[in-house]
């Protein structure tokens, strides 16, 4: 029998705010333990949490970027459980009235565009970080109360690879929108994966098995690559799977049972009495709307369509937004955007890296790059000379035509002038001349090289070839 896989993903992402969700402690990674804590985020009695408005904005912005509905009435709830990293013995989250819901994410997958629907994205708080020792554990609450967004996908993902691409695309959108830095090394993104298998064609879902707390996308993919065949094996041998929570053991490369359905938590959600509901008005939503940016996929498709760029070039401009913006300004003024793209990617980007310069400090405007490619296309300078002009342009900011003029770099296309240099080359290289006349066509290159040397690279190489051929025929 053939089986199909159904995967849903819950992605937790730390929001890029200055301060924590309910208090003014810094939201920053890497401080000494328990130095970014206060009575609020330590859960001491008698304190009152107050919502960070920027976190609410970033949540709404995420909703807009993921094509979600923005709730006009959202509220917070308490999720009750006991664990040492949760100082209040409950986590503040959004249970039945999340800030945003019902959206989708499109991404490139297997040569086409895949769509995964988003169930909801709700705002909650991160917990502390545990350290394990021989006979005890230690807790650092610096992370407790950091705003955390949980983005829940519909169970529509059908393979480990698709899960991986979904996660990458989601991360790209979040980074692009300035929602989160998404630094995996710093634990800013974690995910839980729900996976079940069922005979192909069956509509009822199989037993839902959740794999908890993976902190890398490659880990999530490997967990699924292990878990999917495991489930299929059980079911195809007539076994029965039951709902459970598993953990991914990265070192062993296996998933292991954490708790069964019977041991599942009873969270006893109830409305958080310390926080007021959030009911944004039109103006507030419009102010967030102004922060919406073009999504990576849309940008890539637009660059390919409007500027006729190959996918790899367009992708380079998706990854490096300022560089792409710079290219765009130049591309709008040229008929050969592909040539300009080559210069931006191969020359400009390399030079910026080499000299550790940022685009803001670049001395020449996009027009200069367009002029430079124009000089090559009109035959005024060779591609080789253009490299020198580019360096000069990069260093001084002077327009390329002025540099060409000033340095006498203009390509010599005067047949008479070139003829004299050709005569000189022929006279001083009898061996190459003999070889060429004996039928060794390649010997012409040696003579050409001589002429280029004599003209300091300024000669039009094609023209030199023609002149030499004519002269050697006689």
């Amino acid at each position: 029998m053939e089986y199909e896989v159904v995967i849903g993903i819950e992605t937790h992402v730390q929001l890029k705010t200055q301060s924590k969700m309910w208090c003014g402690c810094a939201n920053a990674f890497g401080a000494e333990p328990n130095t970014q804590v206060c009575p609020v985020c330590l859960g001491l009695p008698g304190v009152l949490p107050v919502a960070n408005e920027e976190a609410l904005r970033l949540t709404t912005l995420t909703g807009l970027l993921l094509n979600c509905t923005i709730a006009r009435y959202a509220k917070f709830d308490r999720k009750n459980y006991f664990y040492p990293d949760a100082p209040k013995n409950y986590q503040i989250t959004q249970y039945d009235k999340p800030s945003t819901f019902k959206g989708f994410l499109d991404f490139e997958f297997q040569g086409g565009i895949a769509r995964v629907n988003i169930t909801r994205a709700h705002l909650e708080e991160d917990v502390g970080k545990n350290f394990h020792f021989d006979r005890s554990s230690g807790v650092d609450f610096n992370r407790a109360g950091v705003p955390l967004l949980e983005i829940v996908s519909e169970p529509e993902i059908t393979s480990a690879d698709m899960a991986h691409e979904y996660l990458n695309a989601l991360k790209e959108v979040l980074t692009y929108g300035g929602i989160s830095d998404c630094d995996m090394e710093k634990g800013m993104v974690r995910c839980d994966v729900n996976v079940s298998v069922r005979p192909k064609g069956q509509t009822a879902l199989g037993a839902k098995i959740e794999i908890k707390n993976m902190n890398s996308f490659s880990g999530a993919r490997r967990a699924l690559e292990y878990e999917i065949p495991r489930q299929i094996e059980v079911v195809s041998k007539g076994g029965k799977l039951s709902q459970e929570t598993r953990r991914w053991n990265d070192e062993a490369g296996i998933t292991e049972t954490m708790r069964s359905k019977e041991q599942a938590h009873d969270y006893r959600y109830f409305p958080e009495p310390d926080l007021m509901p959030f009911a944004p008005d039109d103006d507030w939503i419009a102010s967030v709307q102004r922060r919406v940016v073009e999504l990576p996929l849309a940008r890539k498709q637009r660059f390919m369509r409007d500027f006729d760029l190959p996918a790899a070039d367009a992708q380079a401009f998706v990854w490096d937004v300022p560089l792409g913006n710079y290219f765009e300004r130049a591309a709008q003024q040229t008929k050969s955007p592909k040539t300009v793209a080559n210069w931006v990617i191969n020359n400009l980007r390399a030079r910026l890296t080499e000299t550790q310069t940022t685009l803001e400090n670049l001395k020449f405007p996009p027009e200069s790059l367009v002029d430079l490619t124009g000089l090559i296309e009109s035959g005024k300078i060779s591609t080789k000379i253009a490299q020198d002009v580019f360096i000069e342009m990069f260093n001084s900011g002077e327009p390329p035509s002025a540099i060409v003029e000033k340095s006498g770099l203009s390509q010599v296309s005067d047949v008479d002038a070139l003829g004299k240099f050709c005569d000189e080359a022929i006279a001083s290289n009898p061996k190459s001349v003999g070889d060429y006349r004996a039928g060794k066509v390649a010997a012409l290159n040696a003579l050409k090289g001589q002429v280029m040397k004599l003209t300091k690279g300024k000669a039009n190489p094609n023209l030199v070839g023609e002149i030499l051929e004519n002269k050697l025929k006689n």
Binding site: P271, F278, P280
Partner: protein, 95 residues
């Protein structure tokens, strides 16, 4: 007021409290009575009443995203039953 049956053992487990059987009985009756009072709401017609998440008619209470001073580490750990290397020490966490 009719008392409501309540699974005291389960609730006690959720709250991580240990009760003697005498306490279970006494508290069970009290909790049942409390729920019984709330049951009275079932007698009221609320079909015309909007559900609310809060008794105070106030929304959008927020603060600007600004950093304020945190506690010094020593103060933060002052109440900890056990501490080491700036961490709150707890029994070994297993899950």
């Amino acid at each position: 007021m009719a008392a409501v049956e309540i699974d005291v053992k389960y609730v006690a487990h959720l709250a991580r409290v240990t009760l003697t059987s005498e306490e279970s009985q006494r508290l069970g009756a009290q909790l049942g009575n409390i729920l019984g009072f709330i049951e009275k709401l079932n007698e009221v017609d609320v079909s015309q009443v909007e559900p609310t998440a809060h008794a105070v008619p106030l929304v959008n209470v927020t603060r600007p995203d600004e950093i304020r001073p945190s506690l010094p580490q020593g103060d933060a750990l002052r109440n900890a039953p056990a501490k080491a290397n700036g961490l709150f020490m707890v029994p070994k966490i297993v899950e």
